[in-house]
Amino acid sequence: MNDQEETSPRRKSRETRRKAILRATRALVIEIGYDGLSLDLVAARSNLTKPTLYKYFQDKDDLLLSAYLEMVDTWEIAKAKLPQNTSAYERLSLMIRIPLDVNFGEDHALYASPPPEILSHPKFAAAQSRVRQGIADTLVAGQASGEIDRDINPLVTVQLFFAITGFRPFQRLVDSGELTTEELIGQLHKMLVRAVRSTSNQI
């Protein structure tokens, strides 16, 4: 990775602007929903002109999809930045946070019911697929290195992760005040990551 390129002022401001546009988009979606969203509104909110906006995103669908996938992208970038010698276990720990943050984190209302255009978009399916495959691969790598339980089938394990991280009714525990969002995500994360570790006390 070329460090110079990464931190050049041009790159940085382009990246910052892109992020600002996506942040404005997410805020607007939460306020007025997907249908009410227009590129004019997004431009206004991000203090840009519409022509400038078009430099970053082709159209409304492109914008929405990117806003939706930004969470995944952010984590993929974070994962790529991990030092080479990061253990499979630590990688897994990071990756399991993706669906948890998406489904129960700050912006969960945004992700709760994406419009059908997003759900059926090939990029969306591809992103989901990447996350799953990434987790499966990390499990296998961890099994090879002995950090992760060898007696579990990685594909079955990925299914379990997604069954649990995708269970929106957990939100009721936060809504009723029994747990804070941090506690919910923290406890789910703890349970899931612990489940695959290779040494433990069996109950």
Partner: protein
């Protein structure tokens, strides 16, 4: 001497008919699922006329919901009796394994876990909540005994199990022979029990 309330003949007939209808509905639901179920078929199986059936249940959904809900409650009561003499730990192990086995191995029970619109119906949810609350109590007790992780909310543990059973979709994996049904059960039981375990001392 216990005073037994006299139930009139009429009332007994009503109860008997309702049972027959619910049993007929249960069989048909297990055989072919909610979509395929018709009120006609239920009436025939229960040996009542259609008007009679409609007097008990206004539509297919209400009937199916009541049927599934009573199945859940009956299973729940049966399990409580069966685990009466077991330790907390044994109860947990049994419930987890049983639940997962039923989901994965019983191919005859394809319709044992209903889909929409039954799944979101308030009456069905009430029945599920009842079993989830029981499970949460069990986990709370296990927590106090040091068997499971005290830092995890017992309700979260219980709902995680519901999440697992509600969302398991392993037919594809099993069909494509990337794993067997038995191995899938074993992995899931192992994983779930690990999720709950208390920290090593």
């Amino acid at each position: 001497m216990r005073k037994v309330e006299k139930i009139g003949v009429r009332e007994r007939q009503r109860i008997a008919r309702e049972h027959a209808i619910l049993e007929a509905a249960r069989q048909i639901l297990m055989e072919s699922g909610f979509e395929a179920m018709t009120m006609e078929a239920v009436a025939e199986r229960a040996i009542v006329t259609k008007p009679t059936l409609y007097a008990y249940f206004p539509n297919k959904l209400e009937l199916a919901v009541t049927s599934y809900s009573s199945m859940v409650r009956r299973t729940h009561e049966r399990r409580i009796l069966e685990e009466a003499n077991l330790t907390t730990k044994e109860r947990i192990h049994l419930r987890i394994r049983r639940g997962i086995e039923t989901k994965i191995l019983s191919d005859r029970l394809v319709y044992a876990f209903p889909g929409e619109p039954i799944r979101s119906h308030p009456e069905f949810l009430k029945a599920i909540d009842m079993t989830t609350d029981y499970l949460a109590d069990l986990f709370a007790r296990a927590s106090a005994e040091g068997i499971v992780d005290r830092s995890i909310h017992p309700k979260l543990m219980a709902q995680s199990f519901v999440a697992l059973l509600g969302n398991l979709n392993f037919e594809r994996l099993i069909d494509s022979e990337q794993t067997t049904a038995e191995a899938t059960v074993d992995t899931l039981v192992r994983l779930f029990l690990r999720m709950l375990e208390s920290e090593p001392k």
